[in-house]
C-alpha cells in the first residue's frame, strides 16, 4: 500500500511493471491513469495544490478502507501536484485482487474519491486566464454511488 504525492512527471507504464512483479495469487490488476487534456488548445496547464501530511494521510485512510471493503492484495496511488502540462499523467491508481470484479470496483471507487473529495485544490490555466475549480455534479454523483 503506497500513496505518493509528487511534483515531478511520472511514467505510468513503469509503475504498472513494478506493481505486477512477483504476484503469485493476484489474478487481477486494474489500473487507471488520469491525463491532463489539451481541451483543443484551450488548456494551458493544470495546477494542483495539496497539503502535504494532510492530503496524503486523507488518501491513505480511504485506501485502507478500500483494502478491507474489496479484499485487496495491494494498492498504489500516485498523484501529481504543482503545474501539469496537457498530455501528462495527473493520477495513477493500481489495485490488485484475486478476481477482476474486486480490482475494478476498488479502482473505480478510489478514482471517484480522488476526483471529487480528496483534499486538492485545482486551478485551470487556460488561454483566457486561470480559475479555481470545484467538483462537477457528475463527480459528486459518482462518489455518492459508494455511500
Amino acid at each position: 500500500m503506497t500513496v505518493t504525492l509528487t511534483d515531478q512527471p511520472f511514467e505510468p507504464g513503469a509503475l504498472v511493471t513494478a506493481f505486477c512483479v512477483g504476484r503469485e495469487e493476484t489474478g487481477a490488476v486494474a489500473t487507471f491513469v488520469g491525463l491532463a487534456r489539451a481541451e483543443k488548445g484551450q488548456a494551458v496547464a493544470l495546477e494542483l495544490e495539496a497539503y502535504p501530511g494532510f492530503t496524503d494521510a486523507a488518501i491513505g485512510e480511504i485506501v485502507q478502507g478500500a483494502v478491507t471493503r474489496f479484499q485487496l492484495h495491494d494498492v498504489q496511488v500516485v498523484h501529481r501536484v504543482g503545474r501539469i502540462a496537457p498530455g501528462e499523467a495527473i493520477v495513477f491508481v493500481a489495485t490488485a485482487a484475486g478476481h477482476r470484479r474486486e480490482a475494478f470496483e476498488a479502482c473505480d471507487f478510489l478514482m471517484d474519491y480522488l476526483k471529487s473529495r480528496a483534499p486538492f485544490w485545482k486551478k485551470e490555466h487556460g488561454l483566457g486566464g486561470a480559475r479555481w475549480i470545484e467538483p462537477t455534479d457528475r463527480d459528486r454523483t459518482d462518489a455518492e454511488r459508494w455511500d
Binding site: 494532510f54 495527473i90 480522488l114 483534499p119 486538492f120 485544490w121 479555481w132 475549480i133
Partner: protein, 79 residues
C-alpha cells in the same frame, strides 16, 4: 502564536500562503486576520471553508501554542 497556512483561492486572495500570527486561540486568530484584511476575514468565515489544526479538521474553538499549524481549507476540488 501559530503558523497559518492558506490554500487554493484563499492564498490567491490574501496574497500570502504561510505566515506566523500571534494568537492564543482560533477565534482571536480569526480576529487578527480579519483586522489586517477584512476581505480575507470574511472569506475565512464563509461556509465550506474548513480549518485544520495540526492537520486535523476542527469545528469550533481550539487553543494555539507557538508551534501549532492552522490551515484554512477552501472547498476541495479533488485531483
Amino acid at each position: 502564536m501559530a503558523r497559518v497556512l492558506l490554500f487554493g483561492r484563499l492564498a490567491d486572495q490574501a496574497g500570502w500562503r504561510d505566515r506566523v500570527v500571534d494568537a492564543l486561540d482560533l477565534s482571536s486568530l480569526r480576529g487578527a486576520l480579519a483586522a489586517a484584511d477584512p476581505g480575507l476575514g470574511e472569506a475565512l468565515a464563509a461556509p465550506g471553508v474548513q480549518v485544520a489544526v495540526d492537520k486535523a479538521i476542527v469545528r469550533g474553538e481550539a487553543t494555539l501554542s507557538p508551534f501549532t499549524e492552522v490551515a484554512f481549507l477552501p472547498p476541495m476540488s479533488g485531483g
